[in-house]
Amino acid sequence: MGTNWVDILIKAFYIAKKDAKVYYFKAPNLTYGLLMPVSLFLAFSIAGQINPRLIASGLTSLVILFGTTSIEAVAIVLEKQTGTFERLLAAPVSFFTLLLGKALSGFLFGLVIATVILVPFASVSETAVANPLLVFIAIAFSSLTFSALGVLVSAYANWVPEAQMLSNFLRFPMAFLSGTFVPLELMPSHLEVVARFLPLTYSVEALRTSMTDSAITPAYLLDILALGLFSFAFLAIAAKVLQKRID
Protein backbone atom coordinates (compact mmCIF):
# COMPACT_ATOMS: atom_id res chain seq x y z
CA MET A 1 0.00 0.00 0.00
CA GLY A 2 1.45 3.35 -1.07
CA THR A 3 1.44 6.48 1.03
CA ASN A 4 -1.92 8.19 0.94
CA TRP A 5 -0.86 11.84 0.97
CA VAL A 6 -4.43 13.14 0.84
CA ASP A 7 -5.26 11.18 3.98
CA ILE A 8 -2.06 12.39 5.67
CA LEU A 9 -2.84 16.04 4.86
CA ILE A 10 -6.49 15.78 5.90
CA LYS A 11 -5.64 14.21 9.27
CA ALA A 12 -2.76 16.66 9.83
CA PHE A 13 -5.24 19.46 9.16
CA TYR A 14 -7.67 18.07 11.76
CA ILE A 15 -4.87 17.92 14.34
CA ALA A 16 -3.85 21.49 13.46
CA LYS A 17 -7.43 22.69 13.71
CA LYS A 18 -7.76 21.11 17.13
CA ASP A 19 -4.47 22.66 18.30
CA ALA A 20 -5.55 26.07 17.03
CA LYS A 21 -8.70 25.79 19.11
CA VAL A 22 -7.10 24.34 22.22
CA TYR A 23 -3.79 26.21 22.33
CA TYR A 24 -3.29 29.00 19.82
CA PHE A 25 -6.00 31.52 19.17
CA LYS A 26 -6.48 32.72 22.69
CA ALA A 27 -6.05 36.34 23.73
CA PRO A 28 -3.03 35.82 26.04
CA ASN A 29 -1.18 33.80 23.41
CA LEU A 30 -1.84 36.34 20.67
CA THR A 31 -0.77 39.17 22.93
CA TYR A 32 2.46 37.46 23.96
CA GLY A 33 3.31 36.44 20.40
CA LEU A 34 2.99 40.02 19.26
CA LEU A 35 4.02 42.11 22.24
CA MET A 36 7.29 40.38 23.08
CA PRO A 37 9.00 40.82 19.69
CA VAL A 38 7.48 44.24 19.09
CA SER A 39 8.81 45.55 22.41
CA LEU A 40 12.17 43.92 21.82
CA PHE A 41 12.43 45.40 18.38
CA LEU A 42 11.32 48.89 19.29
CA ALA A 43 13.79 48.98 22.16
CA PHE A 44 16.67 48.41 19.78
CA SER A 45 15.53 50.16 16.63
CA ILE A 46 13.96 53.49 17.57
CA ALA A 47 17.23 55.14 18.59
CA GLY A 48 19.05 53.76 15.58
CA GLN A 49 16.69 55.27 12.96
CA ILE A 50 16.73 52.10 10.93
CA ASN A 51 15.23 51.94 7.43
CA PRO A 52 11.50 50.96 7.71
CA ARG A 53 12.11 48.03 5.32
CA LEU A 54 14.75 46.66 7.68
CA ILE A 55 12.34 47.10 10.55
CA ALA A 56 9.49 45.43 8.69
CA SER A 57 11.49 42.34 7.73
CA GLY A 58 13.21 41.96 11.11
CA LEU A 59 10.06 42.59 13.08
CA THR A 60 7.96 40.18 11.01
CA SER A 61 10.55 37.43 11.36
CA LEU A 62 10.77 37.97 15.10
CA VAL A 63 7.00 37.93 15.49
CA ILE A 64 6.82 34.63 13.63
CA LEU A 65 9.69 33.16 15.68
CA PHE A 66 8.25 34.15 19.04
CA GLY A 67 4.61 33.61 18.14
CA THR A 68 4.98 30.10 16.77
CA THR A 69 7.60 28.69 19.14
CA SER A 70 5.92 30.07 22.28
CA ILE A 71 3.03 27.68 21.89
CA GLU A 72 4.49 24.99 19.68
CA ALA A 73 7.31 24.35 22.15
CA VAL A 74 4.85 23.52 24.92
CA ALA A 75 1.99 21.99 22.91
CA ILE A 76 3.33 18.42 22.83
CA VAL A 77 4.66 18.71 26.38
CA LEU A 78 1.20 19.73 27.60
CA GLU A 79 -0.37 16.88 25.66
CA LYS A 80 2.10 14.43 27.18
CA GLN A 81 1.35 15.74 30.66
CA THR A 82 -2.41 15.53 30.28
CA GLY A 83 -2.46 12.18 28.49
CA THR A 84 -4.01 13.49 25.30
CA PHE A 85 -0.82 12.75 23.36
CA GLU A 86 -1.48 9.06 23.96
CA ARG A 87 -4.86 9.54 22.33
CA LEU A 88 -3.16 10.91 19.22
CA LEU A 89 -0.66 8.05 19.27
CA ALA A 90 -3.46 5.49 19.54
CA ALA A 91 -5.19 6.86 16.45
CA PRO A 92 -4.46 5.38 13.03
CA VAL A 93 -2.18 8.22 12.00
CA SER A 94 1.52 7.96 11.30
CA PHE A 95 4.04 9.73 13.48
CA PHE A 96 4.85 11.97 10.54
CA THR A 97 1.18 12.97 10.19
CA LEU A 98 0.98 13.74 13.87
CA LEU A 99 4.03 16.01 13.82
CA LEU A 100 2.96 17.59 10.55
CA GLY A 101 -0.38 18.45 12.14
CA LYS A 102 1.42 19.95 15.12
CA ALA A 103 3.70 22.02 12.88
CA LEU A 104 0.79 23.03 10.65
CA SER A 105 -1.03 24.73 13.51
CA GLY A 106 2.07 26.79 14.31
CA PHE A 107 2.47 27.51 10.62
CA LEU A 108 -1.07 28.89 10.32
CA PHE A 109 -0.61 30.90 13.49
CA GLY A 110 2.64 32.34 12.09
CA LEU A 111 0.87 33.37 8.87
CA VAL A 112 -1.85 35.16 10.81
CA ILE A 113 0.35 37.07 13.24
CA ALA A 114 2.88 38.02 10.53
CA THR A 115 0.05 39.51 8.49
CA VAL A 116 -1.32 41.26 11.56
CA ILE A 117 2.09 42.94 12.06
CA LEU A 118 3.28 43.49 8.51
CA VAL A 119 0.19 44.94 6.82
CA PRO A 120 -0.46 47.78 9.31
CA PHE A 121 3.26 48.48 9.66
CA ALA A 122 3.78 48.74 5.90
CA SER A 123 0.73 51.00 5.59
CA VAL A 124 1.67 53.32 8.42
CA SER A 125 5.34 53.60 7.50
CA GLU A 126 4.47 53.80 3.78
CA THR A 127 6.89 50.97 3.12
CA ALA A 128 6.48 49.66 -0.40
CA VAL A 129 6.38 45.89 -0.73
CA ALA A 130 8.06 44.99 -4.01
CA ASN A 131 6.54 41.56 -4.48
CA PRO A 132 3.69 40.56 -2.11
CA LEU A 133 3.65 36.97 -3.37
CA LEU A 134 7.35 36.48 -2.61
CA VAL A 135 6.82 38.12 0.78
CA PHE A 136 3.99 35.68 1.47
CA ILE A 137 6.16 32.71 0.46
CA ALA A 138 8.94 33.97 2.75
CA ILE A 139 6.45 34.31 5.61
CA ALA A 140 5.06 30.84 4.93
CA PHE A 141 8.50 29.18 4.94
CA SER A 142 9.54 31.13 8.03
CA SER A 143 6.36 30.05 9.84
CA LEU A 144 6.95 26.42 8.91
CA THR A 145 10.58 26.53 10.02
CA PHE A 146 9.94 28.11 13.41
CA SER A 147 6.93 25.94 14.00
CA ALA A 148 9.10 22.88 13.29
CA LEU A 149 11.69 24.29 15.69
CA GLY A 150 8.97 24.48 18.33
CA VAL A 151 8.03 20.86 17.67
CA LEU A 152 11.69 19.88 18.12
CA VAL A 153 11.92 21.70 21.46
CA SER A 154 8.67 20.07 22.54
CA ALA A 155 10.00 16.65 21.62
CA TYR A 156 13.04 17.09 23.85
CA ALA A 157 11.31 18.65 26.84
CA ASN A 158 9.50 16.76 29.57
CA TRP A 159 7.93 19.70 31.36
CA VAL A 160 6.61 23.11 30.36
CA PRO A 161 9.35 25.08 32.21
CA GLU A 162 11.98 22.94 30.49
CA ALA A 163 10.42 23.68 27.10
CA GLN A 164 10.28 27.38 27.91
CA MET A 165 13.90 27.44 28.99
CA LEU A 166 15.04 25.54 25.91
CA SER A 167 13.13 27.77 23.51
CA ASN A 168 14.43 30.95 25.16
CA PHE A 169 17.93 29.54 25.03
CA LEU A 170 17.53 29.27 21.25
CA ARG A 171 15.39 32.34 20.51
CA PHE A 172 17.20 35.16 22.26
CA PRO A 173 20.71 34.57 20.89
CA MET A 174 19.12 33.99 17.49
CA ALA A 175 17.27 37.31 17.69
CA PHE A 176 20.54 39.18 18.16
CA LEU A 177 22.76 37.19 15.80
CA SER A 178 20.58 36.89 12.71
CA GLY A 179 20.75 40.40 11.28
CA THR A 180 17.41 41.33 12.77
CA PHE A 181 18.56 44.50 14.51
CA VAL A 182 21.94 44.97 12.84
CA PRO A 183 22.48 43.99 9.18
CA LEU A 184 24.82 41.01 8.84
CA GLU A 185 27.40 42.95 6.83
CA LEU A 186 27.91 45.26 9.81
CA MET A 187 28.56 42.37 12.17
CA PRO A 188 32.04 40.94 12.95
CA SER A 189 32.96 38.25 10.45
CA HIS A 190 33.00 35.40 12.99
CA LEU A 191 29.44 36.27 14.05
CA GLU A 192 28.44 36.34 10.41
CA VAL A 193 29.58 32.73 10.18
CA VAL A 194 27.47 31.86 13.24
CA ALA A 195 24.49 33.63 11.67
CA ARG A 196 24.67 31.30 8.66
CA PHE A 197 23.72 28.40 10.94
CA LEU A 198 20.63 30.16 12.26
CA PRO A 199 17.27 29.84 10.49
CA LEU A 200 16.19 33.35 11.52
CA THR A 201 18.97 34.76 9.30
CA TYR A 202 17.37 33.23 6.21
CA SER A 203 13.91 34.34 7.24
CA VAL A 204 15.04 37.98 7.68
CA GLU A 205 16.97 37.88 4.41
CA ALA A 206 14.14 36.34 2.41
CA LEU A 207 11.69 38.93 3.68
CA ARG A 208 14.12 41.80 3.12
CA THR A 209 14.89 40.66 -0.44
CA SER A 210 11.25 40.15 -1.40
CA MET A 211 10.31 43.55 -0.03
CA THR A 212 12.96 45.34 -2.06
CA ASP A 213 13.17 43.25 -5.23
CA SER A 214 10.16 42.16 -7.24
CA ALA A 215 12.14 39.52 -9.16
CA ILE A 216 13.06 36.08 -7.85
CA THR A 217 16.77 36.34 -7.14
CA PRO A 218 19.20 33.47 -6.50
CA ALA A 219 19.73 34.86 -2.98
CA TYR A 220 15.99 34.67 -2.30
CA LEU A 221 15.80 31.13 -3.64
CA LEU A 222 18.73 30.11 -1.45
CA ASP A 223 17.03 31.59 1.60
CA ILE A 224 13.80 29.71 0.87
CA LEU A 225 15.74 26.51 0.25
CA ALA A 226 17.61 26.93 3.53
CA LEU A 227 14.34 27.47 5.41
CA GLY A 228 12.86 24.37 3.75
CA LEU A 229 15.88 22.31 4.77
CA PHE A 230 15.75 23.60 8.34
CA SER A 231 12.03 22.69 8.54
CA PHE A 232 12.65 19.19 7.26
CA ALA A 233 15.65 18.66 9.56
CA PHE A 234 13.81 19.93 12.64
CA LEU A 235 10.78 17.72 11.98
CA ALA A 236 12.90 14.67 11.14
CA ILE A 237 14.98 15.05 14.33
CA ALA A 238 11.82 15.69 16.39
CA ALA A 239 10.24 12.50 15.00
CA LYS A 240 13.36 10.48 15.88
CA VAL A 241 13.55 11.93 19.38
CA LEU A 242 9.86 11.37 20.14
CA GLN A 243 9.84 7.87 18.68
CA LYS A 244 12.87 6.95 20.77
CA ARG A 245 11.27 8.36 23.90
CA ILE A 246 8.03 6.49 23.31
CA ASP A 247 9.79 3.19 22.61
Binding site: V22, A91, P92, S94, M165
Partner: protein, 336 residues
Amino acid sequence: MTHLQNAVAVDGLTKYYGKLLAVDRIDFDVEQGSIFGLLGPNGAGKSTTVGMLAGLTKPSAGKAIVLGFDVTHETIRAKQQIGMVPELSNVYDEMTALENLVFAGQLYGVPRKEIRSRAKELLEIFGLSNRATDLVGALSKGMKRRLTIACALIHKPKLLFLDEPTTGLDVQSARLVRELIRRLNKDGVTVFLTTHYIEEADQLCEQIAIINRGKIVALGSPEKLKARIKGVKVIEVSFSKTLANMEGELQHISGVDEIHTFGDEFRVFAKESADIVADLVDYARTRGLAVNSINTVKPSLEEAFIKITGLDSEIMMSEKERIKPERGGRSGNELG
Protein backbone atom coordinates in the same frame (compact mmCIF):
# COMPACT_ATOMS: atom_id res chain seq x y z
CA MET B 1 -3.49 -10.79 7.71
CA THR B 2 -3.45 -13.99 9.74
CA HIS B 3 -4.92 -15.68 12.82
CA LEU B 4 -8.48 -14.50 12.18
CA GLN B 5 -10.03 -16.85 14.75
CA ASN B 6 -8.52 -14.84 17.60
CA ALA B 7 -8.91 -11.12 18.18
CA VAL B 8 -5.44 -11.09 19.72
CA ALA B 9 -2.64 -13.62 19.37
CA VAL B 10 0.50 -12.94 21.38
CA ASP B 11 3.66 -14.93 20.92
CA GLY B 12 6.79 -14.34 22.98
CA LEU B 13 6.06 -10.65 23.37
CA THR B 14 8.88 -8.88 25.19
CA LYS B 15 9.57 -5.30 26.12
CA TYR B 16 12.73 -3.77 27.51
CA TYR B 17 13.00 -0.17 28.69
CA GLY B 18 16.73 0.23 28.51
CA LYS B 19 17.96 -2.66 30.64
CA LEU B 20 14.68 -3.04 32.52
CA LEU B 21 12.67 -6.03 31.40
CA ALA B 22 9.04 -4.84 31.61
CA VAL B 23 7.35 -7.72 29.74
CA ASP B 24 9.01 -11.09 29.55
CA ARG B 25 8.12 -13.38 26.60
CA ILE B 26 4.41 -13.59 27.19
CA ASP B 27 2.02 -15.76 25.16
CA PHE B 28 -1.76 -15.75 25.12
CA ASP B 29 -4.73 -15.58 22.78
CA VAL B 30 -7.93 -13.57 23.11
CA GLU B 31 -10.97 -15.12 21.52
CA GLN B 32 -13.13 -12.90 19.31
CA GLY B 33 -16.25 -11.65 21.09
CA SER B 34 -14.94 -12.35 24.58
CA ILE B 35 -14.02 -10.19 27.54
CA PHE B 36 -10.42 -10.81 28.44
CA GLY B 37 -8.84 -9.50 31.61
CA LEU B 38 -5.20 -8.84 32.31
CA LEU B 39 -4.85 -8.79 36.06
CA GLY B 40 -1.80 -7.82 38.01
CA PRO B 41 -0.27 -5.44 40.51
CA ASN B 42 1.20 -2.08 39.73
CA GLY B 43 4.34 -2.37 37.62
CA ALA B 44 3.53 -5.93 36.56
CA GLY B 45 3.57 -5.00 32.86
CA LYS B 46 -0.16 -4.60 32.15
CA SER B 47 -0.05 -1.15 30.60
CA THR B 48 3.11 -1.94 28.66
CA THR B 49 1.41 -5.03 27.23
CA VAL B 50 -1.65 -3.01 26.21
CA GLY B 51 0.64 -0.28 24.84
CA MET B 52 2.31 -2.84 22.57
CA LEU B 53 -0.98 -4.42 21.47
CA ALA B 54 -2.50 -1.01 20.71
CA GLY B 55 0.53 0.01 18.66
CA LEU B 56 1.63 2.75 21.06
CA THR B 57 5.03 1.27 21.71
CA LYS B 58 7.11 -1.24 19.76
CA PRO B 59 7.87 -4.66 21.22
CA SER B 60 11.54 -5.45 21.79
CA ALA B 61 10.90 -9.02 20.67
CA GLY B 62 8.06 -11.39 19.89
CA LYS B 63 4.95 -10.97 17.85
CA ALA B 64 1.42 -9.73 18.41
CA ILE B 65 -1.37 -10.15 15.90
CA VAL B 66 -4.37 -7.92 16.52
CA LEU B 67 -7.46 -8.65 14.42
CA GLY B 68 -5.25 -10.27 11.84
CA PHE B 69 -2.67 -7.47 11.65
CA ASP B 70 0.87 -7.60 12.92
CA VAL B 71 1.06 -4.62 15.31
CA THR B 72 4.72 -4.03 14.55
CA HIS B 73 4.50 -3.99 10.77
CA GLU B 74 0.85 -3.15 10.09
CA THR B 75 0.40 -0.74 12.97
CA ILE B 76 -1.93 1.77 11.29
CA ARG B 77 -4.19 -0.95 9.89
CA ALA B 78 -4.39 -2.59 13.30
CA LYS B 79 -5.14 0.76 14.95
CA GLN B 80 -8.03 1.34 12.55
CA GLN B 81 -9.79 -1.69 14.01
CA ILE B 82 -9.26 -1.02 17.69
CA GLY B 83 -10.41 1.44 20.32
CA MET B 84 -8.16 2.44 23.16
CA VAL B 85 -9.22 3.75 26.55
CA PRO B 86 -6.20 4.60 28.68
CA GLU B 87 -6.09 4.62 32.46
CA LEU B 88 -6.48 8.39 32.66
CA SER B 89 -9.29 10.07 30.77
CA ASN B 90 -7.65 11.86 27.88
CA VAL B 91 -10.27 14.12 26.44
CA TYR B 92 -9.61 17.79 25.73
CA ASP B 93 -10.94 19.98 28.53
CA GLU B 94 -11.02 23.02 26.23
CA MET B 95 -13.37 21.36 23.74
CA THR B 96 -16.99 20.38 24.20
CA ALA B 97 -18.05 16.75 24.57
CA LEU B 98 -19.41 16.80 21.01
CA GLU B 99 -16.22 18.39 19.61
CA ASN B 100 -14.10 15.73 21.31
CA LEU B 101 -16.14 13.00 19.67
CA VAL B 102 -16.04 14.69 16.28
CA PHE B 103 -12.26 15.09 16.53
CA ALA B 104 -11.91 11.41 17.41
CA GLY B 105 -14.06 10.53 14.39
CA GLN B 106 -11.91 12.68 12.13
CA LEU B 107 -8.72 10.99 13.34
CA TYR B 108 -10.21 7.55 12.69
CA GLY B 109 -11.45 8.50 9.25
CA VAL B 110 -15.18 8.19 9.97
CA PRO B 111 -17.00 9.57 6.88
CA ARG B 112 -17.86 13.26 7.35
CA LYS B 113 -21.57 12.68 6.84
CA GLU B 114 -21.67 10.10 9.62
CA ILE B 115 -19.50 11.73 12.28
CA ARG B 116 -22.09 13.99 13.89
CA SER B 117 -24.88 11.45 13.94
CA ARG B 118 -22.55 8.80 15.35
CA ALA B 119 -21.26 11.28 17.97
CA LYS B 120 -24.80 12.16 19.01
CA GLU B 121 -25.73 8.48 19.18
CA LEU B 122 -22.78 7.82 21.51
CA LEU B 123 -23.64 10.81 23.68
CA GLU B 124 -27.11 9.33 24.02
CA ILE B 125 -25.83 5.83 24.85
CA PHE B 126 -23.39 7.19 27.43
CA GLY B 127 -25.93 9.50 29.03
CA LEU B 128 -24.15 12.68 28.01
CA SER B 129 -26.65 14.18 25.55
CA ASN B 130 -27.57 17.03 27.85
CA ARG B 131 -23.87 17.95 28.25
CA ALA B 132 -22.98 17.71 24.54
CA THR B 133 -22.11 21.39 24.14
CA ASP B 134 -20.51 21.86 27.56
CA LEU B 135 -16.75 22.18 27.79
CA VAL B 136 -15.28 18.91 29.03
CA GLY B 137 -13.42 20.76 31.77
CA ALA B 138 -16.78 21.29 33.44
CA LEU B 139 -17.73 17.60 33.45
CA SER B 140 -17.38 15.26 36.42
CA LYS B 141 -14.70 12.55 36.53
CA GLY B 142 -17.28 9.84 35.78
CA MET B 143 -18.64 11.78 32.80
CA LYS B 144 -15.12 12.30 31.44
CA ARG B 145 -14.50 8.59 31.76
CA ARG B 146 -17.67 7.80 29.84
CA LEU B 147 -16.74 10.36 27.19
CA THR B 148 -13.26 8.82 26.87
CA ILE B 149 -14.85 5.43 26.25
CA ALA B 150 -17.31 6.98 23.79
CA CYS B 151 -14.41 8.58 21.87
CA ALA B 152 -12.79 5.15 21.57
CA LEU B 153 -15.99 3.79 20.03
CA ILE B 154 -16.64 6.49 17.42
CA HIS B 155 -15.28 4.29 14.59
CA LYS B 156 -17.09 1.15 15.76
CA PRO B 157 -13.98 -0.84 16.69
CA LYS B 158 -14.03 -4.62 16.78
CA LEU B 159 -11.67 -4.69 19.74
CA LEU B 160 -11.66 -2.32 22.69
CA PHE B 161 -8.71 -1.96 25.06
CA LEU B 162 -9.69 -0.64 28.46
CA ASP B 163 -6.87 0.18 30.82
CA GLU B 164 -8.19 0.30 34.40
CA PRO B 165 -11.62 1.54 33.29
CA THR B 166 -13.11 2.11 36.74
CA THR B 167 -10.12 3.33 38.71
CA GLY B 168 -10.92 6.45 40.68
CA LEU B 169 -14.63 6.40 39.88
CA ASP B 170 -17.41 6.53 42.44
CA VAL B 171 -19.45 3.37 42.94
CA GLN B 172 -22.32 4.49 40.71
CA SER B 173 -20.09 5.58 37.81
CA ALA B 174 -18.02 2.40 38.09
CA ARG B 175 -21.19 0.28 37.94
CA LEU B 176 -22.36 2.23 34.91
CA VAL B 177 -19.03 1.71 33.14
CA ARG B 178 -19.15 -2.05 33.89
CA GLU B 179 -22.68 -2.18 32.53
CA LEU B 180 -21.52 -0.42 29.36
CA ILE B 181 -18.67 -2.89 28.96
CA ARG B 182 -21.14 -5.79 29.16
CA ARG B 183 -23.46 -4.10 26.67
CA LEU B 184 -20.62 -3.45 24.21
CA ASN B 185 -19.51 -7.04 24.47
CA LYS B 186 -23.07 -8.19 23.85
CA ASP B 187 -23.00 -6.10 20.67
CA GLY B 188 -20.01 -8.10 19.46
CA VAL B 189 -17.07 -5.98 20.60
CA THR B 190 -14.14 -7.96 21.97
CA VAL B 191 -13.02 -6.32 25.21
CA PHE B 192 -9.47 -6.44 26.51
CA LEU B 193 -9.46 -5.17 30.04
CA THR B 194 -6.62 -4.48 32.43
CA THR B 195 -7.57 -4.05 36.03
CA HIS B 196 -6.25 -4.30 39.54
CA TYR B 197 -9.78 -4.86 40.88
CA ILE B 198 -9.91 -8.62 41.24
CA GLU B 199 -13.65 -8.61 41.79
CA GLU B 200 -14.17 -6.60 38.62
CA ALA B 201 -12.17 -9.13 36.61
CA ASP B 202 -14.16 -11.96 38.21
CA GLN B 203 -17.48 -10.30 37.34
CA LEU B 204 -16.69 -9.28 33.78
CA CYS B 205 -14.10 -11.54 32.24
CA GLU B 206 -14.44 -14.87 30.54
CA GLN B 207 -10.69 -15.34 30.42
CA ILE B 208 -8.11 -13.89 32.78
CA ALA B 209 -4.35 -13.72 32.51
CA ILE B 210 -2.50 -12.92 35.71
CA ILE B 211 0.68 -11.03 35.07
CA ASN B 212 3.40 -10.49 37.62
CA ARG B 213 6.86 -9.02 37.06
CA GLY B 214 6.33 -9.07 33.32
CA LYS B 215 5.40 -12.75 33.14
CA ILE B 216 2.05 -14.43 32.69
CA VAL B 217 1.79 -16.61 35.77
CA ALA B 218 -1.71 -17.98 35.22
CA LEU B 219 -4.22 -18.03 32.40
CA GLY B 220 -7.77 -19.29 32.22
CA SER B 221 -11.38 -18.64 33.09
CA PRO B 222 -12.10 -17.30 36.61
CA GLU B 223 -13.50 -20.73 37.51
CA LYS B 224 -10.41 -22.47 36.23
CA LEU B 225 -8.16 -20.14 38.21
CA LYS B 226 -10.20 -20.68 41.35
CA ALA B 227 -9.96 -24.41 40.77
CA ARG B 228 -6.19 -24.08 41.02
CA ILE B 229 -6.63 -23.72 44.74
CA LYS B 230 -9.21 -26.44 45.01
CA GLY B 231 -8.46 -28.71 47.88
CA VAL B 232 -7.69 -25.62 49.90
CA LYS B 233 -9.94 -24.50 52.72
CA VAL B 234 -10.08 -20.78 53.54
CA ILE B 235 -11.19 -19.74 57.02
CA GLU B 236 -11.60 -16.16 58.17
CA VAL B 237 -11.22 -15.80 61.90
CA SER B 238 -10.97 -12.95 64.38
CA PHE B 239 -10.33 -13.11 68.10
CA SER B 240 -11.19 -10.91 71.06
CA LYS B 241 -7.56 -9.79 71.27
CA THR B 242 -4.54 -9.84 69.01
CA LEU B 243 -1.46 -11.27 70.67
CA ALA B 244 2.15 -10.79 69.73
CA ASN B 245 3.40 -13.41 67.23
CA MET B 246 -0.15 -14.71 66.81
CA GLU B 247 0.36 -15.31 63.09
CA GLY B 248 3.39 -17.46 63.84
CA GLU B 249 1.49 -19.49 66.43
CA LEU B 250 -1.46 -20.07 64.09
CA GLN B 251 0.97 -21.19 61.42
CA HIS B 252 2.00 -24.07 63.69
CA ILE B 253 -1.51 -25.56 63.82
CA SER B 254 -1.41 -28.85 61.98
CA GLY B 255 -2.73 -28.64 58.41
CA VAL B 256 -2.32 -24.85 58.09
CA ASP B 257 -0.58 -23.86 54.88
CA GLU B 258 -0.55 -20.13 55.05
CA ILE B 259 -1.86 -17.23 57.12
CA HIS B 260 -2.69 -13.77 55.82
CA THR B 261 -3.52 -10.94 58.21
CA PHE B 262 -6.01 -8.21 57.37
CA GLY B 263 -6.25 -5.83 60.31
CA ASP B 264 -7.44 -7.93 63.26
CA GLU B 265 -8.71 -10.68 60.97
CA PHE B 266 -6.74 -13.76 59.94
CA ARG B 267 -7.29 -15.63 56.71
CA VAL B 268 -6.16 -19.21 57.19
CA PHE B 269 -5.38 -21.41 54.20
CA ALA B 270 -5.44 -25.06 55.05
CA LYS B 271 -5.82 -28.45 53.46
CA GLU B 272 -9.46 -29.35 52.78
CA SER B 273 -9.15 -32.45 54.91
CA ALA B 274 -7.91 -30.68 58.03
CA ASP B 275 -10.29 -29.90 60.87
CA ILE B 276 -9.10 -26.38 61.22
CA VAL B 277 -12.20 -24.78 62.70
CA ALA B 278 -12.04 -26.97 65.79
CA ASP B 279 -8.28 -26.42 66.08
CA LEU B 280 -8.72 -22.64 65.90
CA VAL B 281 -11.37 -22.71 68.62
CA ASP B 282 -9.03 -24.88 70.74
CA TYR B 283 -6.18 -22.44 70.14
CA ALA B 284 -8.37 -19.54 71.33
CA ARG B 285 -9.37 -21.44 74.46
CA THR B 286 -5.78 -22.30 75.42
CA ARG B 287 -4.74 -18.67 74.95
CA GLY B 288 -7.70 -17.36 76.96
CA LEU B 289 -9.28 -15.65 73.99
CA ALA B 290 -12.81 -15.54 72.65
CA VAL B 291 -13.52 -16.18 68.99
CA ASN B 292 -15.28 -13.09 67.66
CA SER B 293 -16.09 -14.57 64.27
CA ILE B 294 -15.15 -17.61 62.26
CA ASN B 295 -16.26 -18.39 58.70
CA THR B 296 -15.32 -20.95 56.14
CA VAL B 297 -15.30 -19.19 52.78
CA LYS B 298 -15.30 -20.51 49.24
CA PRO B 299 -11.94 -19.78 47.57
CA SER B 300 -12.42 -16.62 45.56
CA LEU B 301 -10.47 -15.27 42.62
CA GLU B 302 -8.74 -13.07 45.14
CA GLU B 303 -7.52 -16.13 47.04
CA ALA B 304 -6.44 -17.70 43.78
CA PHE B 305 -4.59 -14.51 42.90
CA ILE B 306 -2.84 -14.44 46.27
CA LYS B 307 -1.85 -18.08 45.96
CA ILE B 308 -0.65 -17.77 42.39
CA THR B 309 1.29 -14.52 42.68
CA GLY B 310 2.27 -14.71 46.32
CA LEU B 311 1.12 -11.09 46.57
CA ASP B 312 -1.31 -9.48 48.92
CA SER B 313 -4.35 -8.38 46.92
CA GLU B 314 -4.50 -5.17 48.95
CA ILE B 315 -1.13 -4.18 47.52
CA MET B 316 -2.71 -3.82 44.10
CA MET B 317 -5.34 -1.49 45.44
CA SER B 318 -3.21 0.67 47.70
CA GLU B 319 -0.36 1.07 45.23
CA LYS B 320 -2.70 2.16 42.48
CA GLU B 321 -4.42 4.68 44.65
CA ARG B 322 -1.11 6.01 45.90
CA ILE B 323 0.55 6.46 42.53
CA LYS B 324 -2.50 7.69 40.69
CA PRO B 325 -1.47 11.16 39.55
CA GLU B 326 -3.77 14.12 39.53
CA ARG B 327 -4.22 15.26 35.98
CA GLY B 328 -2.22 18.40 35.34
CA GLY B 329 -4.31 21.41 34.49
CA ARG B 330 -3.97 22.69 30.98
CA SER B 331 -4.63 26.31 30.35
CA GLY B 332 -3.39 26.59 26.82
CA ASN B 333 -1.89 29.89 27.86
CA GLU B 334 1.45 28.69 29.12
CA LEU B 335 4.00 30.52 27.11
CA GLY B 336 7.70 30.42 26.78
